[in-house]
């Protein structure tokens, strides 16, 4: 059996990418724990245990985000949510959810490395997003606490508005550099 102590370094796909100059800054928020949760929200045997573990009710309004302590929960679909945990909290949360749910039909899946979180900050976020995302992000239509799955050019994204101007984008690991480069050019174009 192995007795070596390994020096473990985590990798992230955007470590080497520079933030563009302009009205939006880009930053990777690395190593966020993420869990995909599926289940029937009308079934108390599902929502009861889940809500006890998460500390609050699952969002049922489409395209909304709620936060309970360390957890942020994104509505993805009528029976699908994404839960953010602090770094390396995902394993524990998967275990607790599975234990709480027992035989109740559900799916608890660790997707921490499936998605990468890019923080977009600055006054031009909407204009930058318009250069690839077809959603209407006008304040009358989309605001802080809103989230939506959409696409940015060829990449599938999960968009989350943080406050009046700022957004987080979640993107699959292997599309992250492509998206970053696209956003960076859009930032420069908006600034020009």
């Amino acid at each position: 059996m192995v007795d070596t102590v390994f020096k473990v370094i985590k990798a992230s796909p955007l470590k080497s990418m520079a933030s563009p100059a302009g009205g939006v800054s880009l930053r990777e928020k690395p190593f966020v724990g993420k869990i995909n949760l599926r289940g029937n929200i009308e079934d108390g045997d599902f929502t009861g245990p889940v809500e006890r573990v998460l500390g609050g009710v699952l969002p049922s309004r489409p395209n909304t985000v709620v936060g309970y302590g360390a957890f942020t929960i994104y509505w993805l679909g009528p029976d699908e949510w994404l839960v953010h945990t602090p770094e390396d909290g995902q394993g524990d949360l998967v275990d607790r959810l599975r234990a709480a749910l027992g035989d109740v039909h559900s799916a608890v899946t660790d997707v921490s490395d499936y998605f990468v979180v890019i923080e977009m900050r600055g006054p031009d976020c909407r204009d930058v997003l318009a250069r690839g995302c077809p959603l209407d992000l006008h304040p009358r239509n989309f605001g802080p606490g809103s989230c939506a799955q959409s696409h940015f050019s060829h990449a599938t994204i999960l968009l989350h508005q943080i406050n009046d101007t700022d957004f987080d984008i979640q993107i699959r690991w292997t599309y992250a550099q492509y998206l970053w480069s696209y956003l960076a050019e859009a930032v420069e174009n908006v600034a020009a």
Binding site: G91, Y178, A192
Partner: protein, 1019 residues
């Protein structure tokens, strides 16, 4: 280059919306000129007395400016040079900038001396359909002819360099999109904007105002008692106070698609000249989703089809007026207005006031309207019931012959007389610009009194309203009222305001007498009468097409090339089909119109492409191990959108040497491959097994927890479309893998069946492709290497072939799958993606003492081919059943149902002699067959033909391998092939004829070349 000609002899001393304090120099055909800020290239050239700008497409006749806008068919020029050059640009819409360079196109050697003009002398030899009639025989020479015709016709020159400019696509949304910024559009934007609705007002010109810009300062443009220009200013000032209103000049709405999705092209920096736009994009392509649309696109004037009506200096009357009022240019000193309606008199009056000598020939018997009388009072000579029967002048018109019309307008009568003139202004009536309305599938109605096609519905299929001239409403007061109403009602339908339109502003209105349509002006003798200027289509061409049996308007269009130029027949189409209707003895609406297609005006490919070029053209997906591959010299292969290492050459190695080394090293020691790209799907729920039983052909019920099984997926036709290994992680929990390229397809396939056919199944599928990084180690030393790094017991009893165990590897959580695609003892080590690079580097470091060898996709292909493992999509092509590829064993005979099962009772699927997967060994072991090579029976070639005529199939995979040896112990080639009735040809020798004429003979074998018993795999 000549000295700058700064006289601008045709420029008026005052007036116009140009800035005389800002002169701009430019060159046209190598000659220097000066214009002013606010000019177009056309207005500046006209100011300098330039009339000849190009040659027509077929006859190479001299042509000048016809219009003052985007409808221009003649004055198309090559703009700029080098990488910035752009062909087929219309001089009438190019905003002048300092240093602009333009040149005529479609002429050689120059516009003044053009050899192609001889075509004109032989005009009767170039009738409608000439190309079809002449160059279609012999058929195989068409390509040759076409190239020559295109050179002779010449549609400008494409740049050879990369486009140095940037472009972008931008999505946007609004409640009300107003297309067109003339009086109707401004009024609509104003009333819609006042409700608080989100409004976009887009116009193709650099400034709002539309037709009002053409009457600027003329005295015929009062709105609410003030000049129209002041009304525009006031309106724009009010719109500027509305935060939700966007004014977008230089933005043409080019396309109108379903669900009120529209495209628009914004020319951001074109007016500054190349290289002067700073870091800005040159053009922006807007994708607009509008709740409501107001179309306020105006109208386009149509020419009169009279004899020799195409000489330079013969222009649209409205254009002449635009040049006078907007640009301060009087295009001629002696102007003959030829009209069939009152609007020609606006031009006559403004030209007269600007100092020209003006005549009017009016086809109407006795016009006495207010404008007619006003013109006469100013001293304009009006010839009533009179038409032009011919013109003079070669490179510019110098005069016209006129005659009286007979009573019914079918012929001329009396004696002709001559009028000297340097401009003929044609006023043939107006066509509402219904292009966008028609694109949105709106239907048209022919208004016989107004002689125009107008929108049939007030609100079209897609939620839009037409307002103003594009709706057939031509009087300014009515235009303004209609615009205000359309804006307020569009806003209401979008959820804003109360729909009550305020009183429309008052405006000057001149009672007009009716138009007298005269689609073809009679004359004596055979003279060309053009209705389509760019492609040289005449009334005689349309009549000939009718005589030759072209009844459909679409056929006539193509036969005569009417409306097929870069202007899409904006000036010509309606006139052309009116002539066609007359020739066929039908009514105009019975003939119908051709289809209006986007874009409304030409748009650069760069703008449509936007940012999607070079690195952003398509995403490049890479794994977390990728940085190591790059640092260690991997050569990459595109697999779907992934970049995968193809092979890892050492210094001095070519691909062959590298792959042979990698193949040997893996069989002899240990090889390592990045398998992270495999598609992965996590399946949970009590019906997981039911799902697998349906989507795979084999049985899954009894698979134990911690065990893996290979499966193939079939489509409904029983054909293989993906394969992979699925592992049972728990009673109701599975980990499915798919091919690299098939990941999204399989995920979609599962969801489609679950959502549409099996909604009762309690199962959830979640894509986890990126969650797991995968390093596969294979070979006799794989186990000893891995055992140094993991707490998992790797003994064959604990972790047998097709088993899975969880634990740690290299200090991080991992799953080890004992799956082998090489035929060796192999471990697929899965770790969370963040640890992928760490895992790879640790394995490489610890594997050094075992001579660990990284290998890429090519070696993977060779090693699996040695074992006869298929690659879906390479050894199969969508027509292969599992039986066809020798995998009868994987199709359960006991299962009640699975996708594709029914197809195995179809006669074609079970018939004898289908193409089957076999191995091929060439007689000469050094020859590697090309993949895709066709296979023939080894009979003699067909006598006399010298070719093999009966193809049996083709080579699907073919490699040189060091691990399968020939008689002398050397590595040899192996191949797999799909061969008709292949299973019954074992041992036969077949022929593979190659492109170079040689024929390679190969023996049919089982498609397995190495360790057929699989002993190495299980060890």
């Amino acid at each position: 280059m000549s000295v700058s000609a700064n006289n601008q002899a045709y420029r008026l001393d005052a007036g116009g919306r140009i800035d005389r304090s800002r002169p701009l120099s430019f060159t046209f055909n190598g000659k220097s000129y000066t214009g002013y800020q606010g000019d177009t290239l056309a207005s500046a050239l006209i100011a300098n007395g330039v009339k000849l700008v190009g040659r027509s497409f077929k006859y190479h006749r001299p042509r000048g400016f016809l219009s003052a806008g985007s409808d221009e068919p003649n004055a198309i020029v090559q703009l700029e040079e080098g990488a910035h050059t752009e062909p087929n640009t219309r001089a009438t819409v190019i905003e002048l900038y300092e240093g602009l360079k333009a040149a005529s196109q479609n002429c050689w050697p120059s516009v003044n001396h053009d050899i192609g003009e001889v075509n004109s002398l032989f005009g009767r030899l170039f009738p409608a359909g000439f190309y079809y009639k002449t160059f279609m025989w012999p058929p195989k020479l068409w390509m040759w002819y076409e190239e020559r015709i295109r050179h002779a016709a010449g549609m400008g020159v494409s740049p050879l360099e990369n486009d140095p400019d940037k472009y972008e696509n931008v999505h946007t949304h609004c409640d009300v999109l107003v297309a067109g910024g003339g009086p109707a559009g401004l009024a609509a934007a104003l009333t819609a904007g006042r409700t608080g609705a989100r409004v976009i007002l887009a116009d193709e010109q650099d400034q709002m105002g539309g037709a009002l810009l053409s009457s600027y300062g003329s005295g015929h443009d009062q709105i609410d008692g003030i000049p129209a220009a002041e009304w525009i200013e006031a309106t724009l000032r009010e719109l500027a106070t509305m935060p939700e209103v966007r004014i977008m000049p230089r933005t043409t709405v080019t396309g109108y698609y379903d669900y009120n999705w529209l495209t628009a092209l914004e020319k951001v920096t074109d007016h500054m000249g190349p290289g002067n736009g700073g870091n800005s994009v040159r053009q922006r392509f807007w994708k607009i989703r509008a709740k409501q649309v107001v179309l306020a696109t105006g109208a386009i004037e149509r020419p009169l089809v009279f004899a020799e009506n195409d000489r330079p200096g013969i222009m649209m009357a409205g254009a002449v007026r635009t040049y006078i009022n907007r640009f301060g240019v009087l295009p001629g000193k002696e102007i003959l207005v030829f009209t069939n309606n009152d609007t020609g008199y606006y031009t006559a009056i403004d030209a007269k006031k600007a100092g020209a000598r003006v005549y009017v020939a009016d086809v109407r018997p006795d016009p006495q309207g207010a404008l007619v009388l006003e013109a006469e009072a100013l001293g304009v000579k009006v010839y009533r019931n009179t038409v032009i029967t011919g013109t003079r002048g070669r490179k510019a018109v110098t005069g016209a012959e006129v005659m009286e019309l007979n009573a019914d307008g079918t012929d001329v009568t009396g004696s002709h007389f001559s009028i000297d003139c340097d401009i003929i202004a044609m006023a043939g009536g107006w066509n509402p610009t219904v292009h966008l309305f028609s694109q949105s599938r709106g239907k048209l109605r022919w208004d016989e009194d107004a002689t125009m096609f107008v929108p049939r519905e007030s609100v079209a299929i897609n939620p839009s309203r037409s307002a103003g001239c594009c709706n057939g409403t031509m009087n300014l007061p009515a235009v303004l009222a209609e615009g205000m109403s359309a804006g307020i009602r569009a806003a209401l339908d979008a959820g804003f305001g109360d729909g009550a339109a305020p009183a429309a502003p008052s405006a000057s209105s001149v009672m007009e007498e009716p138009i007298r349509a005269l689609w073809e002006v009679p004359c004596h003798g055979h003279k060309k009468k053009f209705h389509e200027f760019q492609n040289d289509s005449t009334s005689a061409d349309v009549q000939l097409a009718t005589r030759e049996g072209m009844i459909s308007v679409e056929h006539t269009k193509r036969y005569t090339t009417t409306g097929m130029g870069t202007d899409q027949g904006k000036t010509s189409n309606v006139t052309g089909l009116a002539i066609m209707a007359a020739a066929q003895g039908r009514e105009i609406p019975a003939v119908g119109t051709t289809t209006f297609r986007p874009p409304y005006t030409p748009q650069a490919f760069g703008a449509i492409t936007g940012q999607d070029r070079r690195g952003l053209f398509e995403q490049e997906r890479t794994t977390s191990m990728h940085p190591w591959h790059v640092a260690n010299g991997a050569v990459f292969e595109d697999v779907g959108d992934w970049k995968r290492p193809w092979y890892f050459p050492k210094t001095g190695e070519d691909m062959h040497a590298a792959v042979q080394r990698e193949c040997r090293a893996t069989r002899d020691g240990v090889g390592i491959m990045d398998a992270s790209t495999l598609g992965k799907i996590d399946i949970q729920g009590p019906d997981s097994v039911r799902l697998l039983e349906m989507v795979y052909t084999n049985a899954w019920e009894k698979l134990g927890v911690g065990r893996c099984r290979y499966g193939v997926m079939l489509n409904e036709h029983g054909m293989i479309f993906d394969d992979g290994v699925t592992t049972r992680l728990g009673d109701n929990h599975f980990h499915m893998t798919t091919t690299t390229g098939g990941a999204a397809r399989v995920m979609g396939w599962l969801e489609e069946w679950l959502q549409t056919e099996w909604p009762d199944m309690q199962v959830y599928c979640t894509s986890v492709t990126e969650q797991w990084a995968v390093a596969t180690i294979s070979g006799p030393r794989a186990r000893v290497l891995l055992s140094e790094l993991t707490d998992i017991d790797l003994d064959v009893e604990s972790l047998p072939f097709m088993g899975m165990a969880e634990g740690t590897v290299a200090g991080v959580p991992a799953r080890i799958y004992r799956i082998s695609f090489t035929g060796e003892v192999a471990f697929e080590i899965n770790v969370p993606q963040v640890y992928g690079l760490h895992l790879w580097e640790t394995l490489m470091a610890h594997g050094e003492k075992y001579d660990i060898c990284p290998y890429g996709t090519e070696t993977m292909h060779v090693l699996r081919a040695e074992k006869g493992f298929i690659i879906v999509g390479q050894d199969t092509d969508g027509t292969c059943t599992p039986m066809d590829v020798g995998m009868d064993w994987i199709v359960s005979k006991k299962k009640e149902d699975f996708l594709g099962k029914r197809s195995f009772t179809r006669s074609d699927t079970i018939k004898e002699g289908r193409k089957q997967l076999v191995g091929l060994l060439t007689e000469d072991p050094k020859i590697v067959l090309p993949e895709g090579a066709h296979i023939a029976a080894d009979a003699n070639p067909e006598p006399g033909l010298g070719v093999y005529t009966k193809a049996l199939g083709h080579v699907t995979s073919s490699y040189m391998t060091p691990n399968v040896t020939d008689a002398s112990g050397q590595g040899r080639s192996i191949a797999m092939a799909l061969v008709r009735d292949g299973r019954n040809r074992m041992g036969d020798t077949l022929a593979v004829p190659l492109m170079d004429g040689s024929v390679v003979r190969a023996v049919v074998t089982e498609p397995i070349f190495f360790d057929p018993e699989g002993e190495r795999t299980r060890g």
